[in-house]
């Protein structure tokens, strides 16, 4: 079921089109990755979802109806550009921000206590924010983002400023929030974490959507049907039996085995290909080569940019 949907969003800033008919559909209780190079328009889209700015045209659907101003109580937003009042005490500030999200003072205090204990930050309560390290401040920020238990969470580059241990803790918390029923929009440049966390993604480049869908499907699509085979036989024997279904990209010997990378024709079956190997030697391993999100990102964006430049050259 769709939890949140933005259709044909257009937003212009003084002649510059920041978003050009972008559509995003976020299924309920999933983690949705919003990817794209710097300046692609991700932050603008996120601000529109948060009702910080209004789209010039397009619809924003929340809970199967058009979004209302009150819906921001059901959103938790951790912006990329984030900070806290430096001179204010941590506890006081967390209480203030939680109350702005609609919690009563008592409820806010109760929930904050729990979170501060969980993250072992109880001792920070009466410290000024400027006395905390950057990572500590980020933790406070994370807590005030989720404190009002919103249905939709938006994290813009949540891991910047965290050490690997804290990053892992944060990832676990995000997955836990999903388990508890939250829907999460997640914007980042850290592609391994996209592979790890995101169920679906949208890749925005130069204000337009260039890639959209379930993460696994996209990776396979971009795979170009590449496989890696490790077997005991000789490669030159193989090339003799080469059929038209596949092509050997490269090969080398390793620990007495041949290691072959080959690409399969799109409509060919990997089973047929394997069958042709069976005669040549003992197969040690066989696996599909799925590209990393990093490769997908670079390929998709570069392809798009090339097309744009070829269109522009007369």
């Amino acid at each position: 079921m769709t939890f949140f949907k933005a259709t044909d969003i257009v937003k212009e800033y003084a002649g510059h089109r920041a978003l050009d008919k972008v559509t995003v559909e976020v299924p309920e209780n999933s983690i949705y990755g919003l990817l794209g190079p710097n300046g692609a328009g991700k932050t603008t889209l996120i601000r529109i979802i948060n009702q910080i700015t209004a789209p010039d045209s397009g619809k924003v659907i929340f809970h199967n109806r058009e979004m209302k101003p009150d819906d921001i109580f059901d959103i938790g937003y951790l912006p990329e550009e984030r900070g806290l009042y430096k001179k204010m005490k941590v506890g006081e500030q967390a209480l203030y921000l939680a109350q702005l999200k609609g919690l009563s003072r008592q409820e806010a205090a109760k929930r904050l206590k729990e979170w501060f204990e969980k993250f072992e930050m109880g001792a920070w309560w009466n410290k000024k924010v400027e006395e905390l390290s950057k990572g500590m401040q980020q933790k406070v920020q994370f807590i005030v983002t989720i404190i009002h238990k919103p249905g939709l969470l938006i994290f813009d580059e949540p891991f910047t400023g965290f050490d690997p241990i804290n990053t892992r803790q944060l990832k676990e918390e995000i997955l836990q929030l999903k388990k508890e029923g939250a829907t999460i929009i997640f914007s980042t440049h850290d592609m391994p974490s996209v592979e790890e966390l995101c169920d679906h993604i949208t890749l925005i480049n130069r204000s337009r959507t260039i890639l959209q869908g379930a993460t696994e499907e996209i990776r396979h699509e971009y795979g170009g049907h590449e496989y890696e085979i490790r077997f005991t036989g000789k490669v030159n024997l193989l090339t003799a039996t080469l059929n038209t279904d596949y092509k050997i990209l490269d090969h080398h010997r390793e620990n007495g085995h041949s290691l072959i990378r080959l690409s399969l024709r799109e409509d060919a079956s990997p089973n047929d290909m394997l069958a042709s190997f069976l005669k040549s030697g003992r197969i040690v391993s066989f696996r599909e080569l799925v590209p990393s999100m990093n490769d997908v990102f670079i390929q998709a964006v570069e392809k798009e940019n090339e097309q744009d430049t070829t269109h522009k050259t007369p």
Partner: protein, 446 residues
Amino acid sequence: MNKIKLIIQREYLTRVKKKSFLIMTLLAPVLMAGMILVPALIMTSQGKEVKRIAVIENGSHLFEGKFHSTEYLKFDYLKDVRLEDLKQNFGDLGYYAILYISPKVGYMPDAVRLISHKQPSLEVTEYISTSIEKVIEREKLLTFNITNLDKILKTVETKIRLQTVLINDAGEEKETSTGVAMAIAYISGLLVYMLTFIFGAQVMRGVIEEKTNRIVEVLISSVKPFQLMMGKIIGIAMVGLTQFFLWIILTLVIIASVQGIVFHNNQNLQEKVQHSTELLSAPTGEAASVQFNEAEKIFQALGAVNWGLVLGAFVIYFLGGYLLYASLFAAVGSAVDNETDTQQFMIPITIPLLLALFIAMGAFQNPDSQLAFWCSFIPFTSPIVMMARIPFGIHAWELIVSVSLLILTFIGTTWVAAKIYRTGILMYGKKPTYKEMWKWLRFKHY
């Protein structure tokens, strides 16, 4: 609405809890009370130590025995002493000054010299010249051979103190003091200017702080930018009012206690002065008594001021002027990334404020001039200029028109400022031009 209350609360409490607020609150009344009390204290306490003055006359003995000593001034008429000799050591002999009178005194006004190491006070010089004038007048009158001259002189002696009285439309009269009205005009005009500037700049700094801390995006995902801006402006206005009322109360407390101590002592002084006046003929003690009355008169006049009107108008004009300018300060703060970039945008705000101050400084001397009149209606100058006119009395309609215009204008500037603000707070990097800010006015928002 609940959120705007939270914002106001935070803005108010964080500022009121600061040490600098406490220091300002305590220090300013001391300064203010000082400003009011010191002149009065100087007037009453001067000459507490006895000053001896040596009188030397060159040639004649016209003034022998003619100088009456007062409580704090003793005159020694020295015969057969040469000025040159005395000049060397009059300080060592315990004299404060030498009064040297040449025989030409009858027709040459500057034939009298008072030689001293320190600048003598106005009180001393006036007492001496009055005494000399009286003696010479008497001598001149004597040449007309009038009988009973002394008695006549005693009878004609008069003393005038001009009482200014204001009459209002209802025909009620009230004694006033131009000096007090001028002082109130000056102080309240200056105070509106200073408070608008101080607290307006605080709004600006607050906005810049939120922007550079990058907390602003966190905040406006929960509240509307307009709520955030207004919460800040109102919160700081309340800080301003709190400080102002604390100032008033503390100043009054200080004045009352000092007045109690000093003027209680003065009661004795006055009795003594009156006593000596009865015993001795004029002008003994006159100077001191006149001074005492002067200080008393100021307090009397202060009591006669319509404090309700002055304080009420002050609060209204401070709030109106502050709200008008604070929204502009907020817009400037939102447009820049740091305080050094504000210079260029501050100019259009600073100039009308400074202009208003200059006009107000003219208005307290000439409250009904054309310039002062018109500028007390123009909302960008009226808060300061009108405060400089009010103590002299204005018509009710003037106040109503001026305040209405001010309210309409601050609604307008707040509306414009809010539009610049909501775009500006999310813009980082390059300092915008006026042209870009003009475009921001037309961006679509919720």
